[in-house]
Symmetry: C2
């Protein structure tokens, strides 16, 4: 029942632990282990089903070959697929992935980072929560490799991979305007996060450049923590207060989903009564009738770029010497929820 150790292998072969270790770590040649010895060792290892104990290895080397992935919510389409691709890429490079969800809660995020540091993860890929500045600063001064994804911490220089939220939002709004919509409602969440602010800026600039009026009163912002019910109620109320709107811009995909429900309940037809577009794609938007126009995040790009960048930082001497950012262009996918506006009869 007891697990086999290198000592057992060495003893049975009348050789030393050193030799076994060299074979296991592929250093036979470099260390001048004879091919005969090497074969003997390898054979017994596979016969006994020996596997090196990784706790001992980590303790000794300080390297765990594990990366910590901290996302907002692993149950969500975007992060679930990010995790999946990162895992595949990490495995290719001999790394494991330890994941956890923050639910966008600062305390949870802090605990996760600490927990992972004690497990000696070699580096992090982090979806920051709003108040994570101090923790991130500490990682930086401690020279721990990490890459921020999806959102930045204002005023800290880090390695990052993010979407060009401004551009996506600008282009999505521009698309609506080009198709003849002019009274566009912007529905977002109340947030200091750079990504949400960029999306708002993109919307506002597109409107302003087109000479269309916007006021803060014509925008709806709900709380991230609000229940689905609360949000839907808020959107319904908003629609009643703004009967002149001809299009809605949802700043996140879950707001889009809730918004569609709210529109249904109000008896408003998409796109005839109201055109809609949403930031962030999901399976749903593609298959709904009508299908929904979106600014999509190229998930594959984001995931592969972040793991690639992280591994590079891990293998650098001066971890944070020079930070590097990758900005991913969103893809505007035009579907049926935002056709050329029919002129009123």
């Amino acid at each position: 029942m007891k697990k086999v150790s290198m000592k057992d292998i060495a003893k049975e072969l009348n050789t030393s632990i050193t030799t076994v270790s060299f074979v296991i770590n592929g250093k036979s040649e470099e260390m001048g282990i004879s091919p005969a010895t090497e074969k003997k060792v390898r054979d017994l290892i596979s016969k006994r089903g020996f596997n090196p104990n990784s706790a001992a290895r980590i303790l000794r080397t300080g390297k765990s070959h594990t990366i910590g992935l901290i996302v907002e919510d692993i149950g969500n389409y975007f992060f679930g697929n990010i995790a999946k691709i990162i895992e595949i890429e990490a495995t290719k490079n001999g790394y494991n992935v330890f994941f956890s969800s923050t639910e966008n809660n600062d305390d949870t995020a802090k605990q996760l980072i600490n927990k992972m540091r004690n497990s000696s993860v070699d580096g992090y890929i982090i979806t920051a929560t709003p108040g994570l500045k101090d923790e991130i600063m500490k990682l930086k001064t401690d020279n721990v490799p990490f890459v921020l994804i999806d959102r930045l911490i204002p005023n800290i220089e880090t390695n990052y991979v993010i979407l060009d939220n401004y551009l996506g939002s600008y282009n999505l709004t521009k698309h609506l305007i080009d198709n003849g919509y002019s009274k566009i409602g912007f529905i977002s969440i109340l947030s200091e996060m750079s990504m949400m602010m960029e999306r708002e800026k993109g919307f506002l600039n597109a409107m302003t450049i087109a000479g269309l009026p916007v006021s803060s009163k014509s925008m709806l912002k709900v709380q991230f923590e609000d229940t689905e019910e609360t949000v839907i109620k808020a959107i319904k109320k908003y629609l009643q207060q703004h009967p002149d709107l001809d299009a809605l811009f949802f700043a996140t995909n879950y707001l889009g989903v809730m918004g569609i429900e709210a529109l249904q309940k109000c008896g408003l037809k998409i796109p005839d009564d109201m055109a809609i577009v949403s930031f962030d794609d999901n399976d749903l938007f593609r298959l709904l009738t009508p299908s929904i126009t979106v600014a999509a995040q190229p998930i594959n790009d984001i995931a592969t770029q972040s793991i690639e960048l992280l591994l590079r930082v891990i293998n650098k001497e001066q971890k944070q010497a020079k930070t590097e950012g990758r900005i991913i262009r969103p893809e505007i996918i035009i579907r049926d929820s935002s056709p050329k506006k029919k002129s009123k009869v």
Copy 2:
């Protein structure tokens, strides 16, 4: 830059490592550490930001307080949410979660199990792949705690949490029959997995009991590995060969999604030309027009029951002494894709 260790704390306080260790592990009282000493130690620990090195701890104790979660695909709605809930429950109980996706590939699954064993995970929650029997047997004889979820390995007694696939399928078929449908096509994947076989059995029994004819020719089975395109083509062909069908039963949710696309392409309207039901819910089915009737897996139940069962096994002496199974009842959610059949005029 160097991390603080227990030794540093002990030295600075002129006390022993033992004392520090007792304080950290909450054994002060039991071991008779004076409150004064305890406070001194605690203060310095938080001042220095000390955190015990978990590799050393694992090496020494053999317990990692980590559970390994092996799912089919973390990017998928069902498993993503399973993972999320398991993580939350595990954290509540002081456990971490190490996850990985098998993509339903035997070799990947085997590698994952081995990798996790070397990292001394305390137990596993596993979505088995078809040829995983030997690995599972080994876990069993090695007395390693594990719980199978979502699907079983035929002829091996294990701890498990699965859905009552037979019942869900039976009831879903019964619902169609009760609503007047009699020519029901069954679309599934070619698979030896117990869950798929149970779903087929449930369908067949419901049909037989109702005195409705079924033949293997009236069922379509595609390969799990088929691309979306291939499946859609197969479904289209199937529909042309069986023009008399009045309803379709999709045995998985992704088949349902592809089926809906195929129906759209064939110009068949749901539910007037063809009623449909699907096994497994997802966000999509709720929001499509028409919304889709499903047998839903109570994700929350499945996740909490499996982690609860696993933790209990971990804390038992005789890990596999008596295996325990939990069978979860699916929930039939009746939506708009399967209304009472209109009589032909």
